[in-house]
Symmetry: C2
Subunit: 368 residues, 2 copies
């Protein structure tokens, strides 16, 4: 039984519930739009399911919903922004706007951000830049769940990298990837079902490959050891040190360059079922394409590059080579039409939130 919800209803539900806990109209709208964009793309870990965690964070004070982001250092193409522990989406929307404005004025805009919170899907902000005709990059650090090569304790985050570039005939290229083998929520899925994880995703408390997601999560969250492997896996044989290096790259541009938190300075606060990372840092870069090459040449190049990838010969048993963002844009178009299918666990979160606030979610149940 799938639970289907119209994306407009999901947005209104999220917005109204955020209004109920004290967010301004603008902040509630931003958060709701960010969550629903993720649900529409099929990334439900970054969708409305987060509402419980955010409401808990507001209640215990790790998110300060009234805080206003502030530019603390600035030049024509650069800005350092202090989020003052405001909502990640509000801080990131502000910083992306600053990067966009500077890129339009000077060809480049970079904003590095400290003292923010979880900002949702990294690609949301890269997409904002592409919507303005720019090349966009969005990075964030995150709670320490990832183990450096040859270690056994998580010190770095899943620190995602997102880059978006406009094309013409094709969807924009939209890369949005954790620098770990898998994002944290994949572990939750395996813990829920009790299925063994693929060997090569995570290490146990002694630094050995584990497939037991439930045991790992307990140990990892209590910082007793064990965590997710960097992209490339265990050791150096298949490049695990590269994923580790990319995670540190993100930490440098977000955390060190902003004068904010990085690595295990980003503390997880546990509140009931919710685990809330604080003092998260971001980095945004927007490039005005025609500062470098004519826009038409660029988008024609992107179309041709995408064609070369998609039209190249397939491995035995495969029919499609995907380009980054393509699957998600297609899902989004489909879900806008037929509604967003919510996983059971997400619906349960939304139902319990709605009961508390008296603002229920109107859904449709379908046998699928």
């Amino acid at each position: 039984m799938a639970i289907i919800v119209d994306h407009r209803k999901l947005r209104t539900f999220t917005e109204n519930n955020f209004r109920f806990v004290g967010l301004s109209q603008e902040a509630a709208h931003l958060c709701a739009d960010n969550f629903v964009a993720a649900d529409l793309r099929g990334v439900s870990s970054h969708g409305a399911a987060l509402i419980r965690r955010y409401m808990d964070a507001i209640r215990i004070g790790t998110i300060l919903p009234q805080a206003k982001p502030e530019i603390i250092r600035e030049s024509p193409s650069t800005a350092t922004i202090d989020g003052h522990l405001g909502l990640g989406q509000v801080v990131a929307d502000f910083a992306t706007g600053v990067a966009i404005e500077k890129a339009k004025q000077t060809g480049i805009g970079i904003a590095t951000v400290r003292n923010s919170n979880h900002y949702g899907m990294a690609g949301y902000y890269a997409q904002m830049m592409v919507d303005e005709g720019l090349l966009g990059m969005s990075l964030t650090n995150a709670a320490p769940y990832v183990i450096p090569t040859f270690g056994r304790i998580p010190v770095i985050g899943t620190n995602p990298i997102s880059l978006a570039a406009p094309a013409n005939r094709h969807y924009p290229f939209l890369l949005d990837m954790a620098t770990s083998v898998v994002p944290r929520n994949k572990l939750d899925e395996y813990a829920d079902t009790g299925m063994p994880m693929p060997a090569g995703w995570a290490l146990d408390a002694q630094g050995r490959i584990t497939t037991d997601a439930a045991a790992l999560l307990t140990s990892m969250v209590s910082r007793l050891g064990g965590g997710i492997l960097p992209l490339g896996g265990k050791g150096e044989l298949c490049g695990g040190h590269k994923g580790y290096g990319l995670s540190v790259l993100v930490d440098i541009l977000c955390g060190v360059l902003s004068g904010g938190a990085y690595a295990d300075l980003i503390q997880n606060v546990k509140d009931g079922e919710s685990i809330i990372a604080t003092q998260v840092c971001h980095f945004f870069m927007a490039l005005k394409i025609d500062n470098f090459v004519d826009m038409d040449t660029f988008t024609a190049g992107m179309d041709d590059l995408i064609d070369r990838l998609k039209n190249s010969e397939k491995a035995a048993g495969q029919t499609t080579i995907y380009v980054h963002g393509e699957k998600e844009y297609e899902l989004c178009a489909k879900h806008e039409k037929i509604g967003v299918p919510l996983p059971e666990y997400v619906y349960e979160i939304l139902e319990s939130v709605g009961k508390e606030t008296g603002i229920p979610l109107d859904v449709r149940r379908e046998r699928r």
Copy 2:
């Protein structure tokens, strides 16, 4: 029996041989310094061994040694540069200089470069920026040896990413990584010895995992199929689509943004034993740190970040967690003192070049 050469002698040998084939004093010096920096760091695939390939490329005209790089579009923080098929090192040195100068003036300098050639070790240019007290990034695309996820033909390059950031007590952080599981030269090493490669590095012509490096190289270079896997490996289970995405990211910033070549537009020209990629594109970014945060705060943050990584607990059986660049800086210091150990195959290349030009290499043989 190891062959040991003093790094100054190796530099002079390389410089004099490049002078012999018509390079200017400045170009010969740049190339020699770039090669020897790689040999000192233990990256012999990017060291003096390349001299044969470069001399062949000059002879057949894919490298035009007299070409001068030209800025074709410019603003205070940005530049697009046409390398006019000059020596990659000359073009990249020029472009890095442009990025450094712009960063010092405006806080950011970005140079994207088309129509260049192989530029050596990506980290060399990131290091140049760190030597000027800047945060440096260096990217390049490369010959198509890497297969997109679900494909069986190489369309993208090993497209490396390098980032360098200064620290205080510690060596700078210097990431320099191919976005594939392994760089191309690892396949050569296994082909030479006949040992089976680790399963998970490469696919055969049908898109299946192969461990036969020699057969793969033959098929790959003739573009009959087969090639190196992107970082993360085969399929999507362990994130192969992420390495694939990072390689495309590099191609966009280098090739598409400069109006140059990307993906399999970068053609390999085969000349005897040498395989020479042409029309390579690069991307350089320099950031002036105190535009964002005080330099002291930044380097103290880098030291602390590195301490947190290195001091974290080790996996069973491990004694050291490395930070990127650390091993290479230590090797460099050692090799400056005791000489550079050349692998047998590298020495043979240098010996045959020296016989042709009458400029021999003075080496020491040691039982090791």
